[in-house]
Homo-oligomer: 461 residues x 2
Amino acid sequence: MKHHLEDLYAALVDVLGEACIVRDEDLVSAYAGDWSEAPRQLPGLVLLPQTSQQVAAALDVCSRFSQPVVVQGGLTGLAGGGTPRPGEIALSLSRLNRIEEIDAVGGIAVVQAGVVLEALQKSVEEHGWSFPLDLGARGSCQLGGNAAVNAGGNRVIRYGTMRAMVLGIEVALPNGTLLTMLNRVEKNTTGIDLKHLFIGSEGTLGVITRLVLKLTPKPTSSCTALCALPSFSSAARLLKQARMALPSLSAFEVMWADFMAAAMQVASLRQPFAAEAPVYVLIETQGANEEEERRQLETFLGDALEAETVMDVIVAQSLDDKERLWQYRETVGELLAQMKPHAAFDVGIPMAAMETFVSSTREVLTRRFPDQRHLFFGHIGDGNLHVLSGPHLTDENLHCVEDIVYTAVRDVGGSISAEHGIGVIKKAFLHNSRSTEEISLMRSLKALFDPNSILNSGRIL
Amino acid sequence: MKHHLEDLYAALVDVLGEACIVRDEDLVSAYAGDWSEAPRQLPGLVLLPQTSQQVAAALDVCSRFSQPVVVQGGLTGLAGGGTPRPGEIALSLSRLNRIEEIDAVGGIAVVQAGVVLEALQKSVEEHGWSFPLDLGARGSCQLGGNAAVNAGGNRVIRYGTMRAMVLGIEVALPNGTLLTMLNRVEKNTTGIDLKHLFIGSEGTLGVITRLVLKLTPKPTSSCTALCALPSFSSAARLLKQARMALPSLSAFEVMWADFMAAAMQVASLRQPFAAEAPVYVLIETQGANEEEERRQLETFLGDALEAETVMDVIVAQSLDDKERLWQYRETVGELLAQMKPHAAFDVGIPMAAMETFVSSTREVLTRRFPDQRHLFFGHIGDGNLHVLSGPHLTDENLHCVEDIVYTAVRDVGGSISAEHGIGVIKKAFLHNSRSTEEISLMRSLKALFDPNSILNSGRIL
């Protein structure tokens, strides 16, 4: 790259102006992104365009120079996709951070890609609406990035993933075309729905610059319960019954006993029930009438107790109660810190295979690594299992754990990434979830959109 | 085509066998599809493959012969996409009609593309599940076709369109590749989600041969109410409130006064309320506890009466009542017959623009065609408006009506097809909903998947 850095810089200044480009020398002090976490290489230039047109123009320049570009949002990704590779320059969406419109009649928001998730959540709530995507990184992650990895989170069971919330999209293509598809209608069958190419493809085909997002009326009440269950199959039965009996169901989180024990230990929480149970389920509903909702939830769980689907139940009676019940699930951050170096998984498992997957994977991991912890939990309402294993002191052991888990995922026809994406860290395992034909077709699409392979290259494929 | 029909036939017999090909001479008697409706040209050959592999092999032969193919499902489409064009042969999915698996734990069905919608609905209900896509053509339309046009129907507000129900897909590509992507997990972020290319693209990129479908726990109760409202803006307010207060909301159908009057006349129904109203809304909920659901609905509508969002309300107290309330909405078939030759529209309109769109379009149509009827109704819960105008005795007048409506759709950024597709009949208006850049990209994708342009060519683009 070095030989043309000055020419490239001059061409980029032409389309962006100097104020939108940070050069190496001032990089660390001038760049607003969060570089403090995780070691990462520094790119020679960071582009900080302020308009969609500038993003497109910058890509056009980079295509002409065959200059590789890494796209950066809030830098909260967990698959290494935003980390610059040698020779790449960075394109940050951070300055495209304007909420352009909130349509309070139709329940629609139009945002630039760099808007932080939490900023949108707060903004729409003032208008009586809710943007229901929610995840731990809400305070830093950007909506463009959420779309690029098709983010999930805790409430997918009710509201779907990010894909279900994107009505329209604007994308800058590597050839400099700005593809404006700011659809605002729920139903639009007018040929290929192109936005789906960009949602979940981690910025390998184009850079998302704007989004039209679907809002949900703001819930004014919510109920939470923690249940102890005799087995996973009881949890699967409870899930089906809950999906029907509780139309306001918004979360169904499962934690296996080993996770629960580790959670209590790491955060000094007390045992919630008189006796230990093999499986715990955290249920949340969101609605408009707290009293009615709690009565409904209590009736439902009363029936489940009677049918012995659940062994014991705590229904939160106050906001404090709710927070206390969520605490067990939310120790994940502390567990991740304590178990370093760890292998952390985000896999999708068909419900019918979940029980066998968990018990056989636990057995294999425990046999091979008896001194490590192997914890299972996740958004089971949508088949999303998280596995946390560690500490593993050598790369070889980490790789061995990955191999065990991803092979098991392949064997049950699961997905090796449910919501974090492939990035660079899961590339080697892509074939466990996608066939040769699919990978070949993905390559053809990549070549069609990005013939010089300048955009987020080396990610996914 | 004639010069090679015998060679082509021989090559097709090689991969399909004679029993899977119907030749011109016996066509009408032997072919099981519904050819009785609407005039259509007859293709020289009809292929009736029995396996996915045969579909792929047949496409490979046709690609080598540059033989154009029209794909046919249940022949219930409303955009002319399944009608053979001169020189085309037909490929029917009718014999791929097996429900391969119903997973009652995970709530998943694996079906061949030719399974009729109603057959699946009935089959999964026996296992305590529901397949919630529902539309008038349920007795003939096939699931492959439903996916190809991303079908909608009455319950999109609760369950989404067909796209939201498709977890996995198998597609035969024009080059003979069978792309098997039978994903079973809700969340799968492992690169480009290729299935979305085929959902809604009306068979122009590949032929859907199998589907993995997401089921919903079977509702055991439902409630229905008909409301009279003072204005559309009241309906928009009621919709937002209903989406929050009634999480079991499964339909929100709006009928304007002119539709209601025509419905009563054509089916000899009596005026439901003491006084006429400008707008009527039909509300349905689906849940597991009828008594509680009705109480909830009555409370909700009581509040709406008090707030004067609605003027009058009928809540169905029996199954008969429910059917009576739905009757008004379901006169559409009779109205279509009575108003022939008519222009019938299926458009998506942003909620914030709906009221103006309806009133100004009605005004323009009434001024230009004062002796015709112009009726407005639709699945307004998801922004899907149907307009029915007729009778129009000349093609010129029909075209004029189309021009008026589609121009108005363009002006509010709507979609010219919400759920029926573009096919051949809306091709000329595609640019009203898709930009030049989008159309150009669609063409590039078409060329990538189908370089000889043999598959459903001349549809959409």
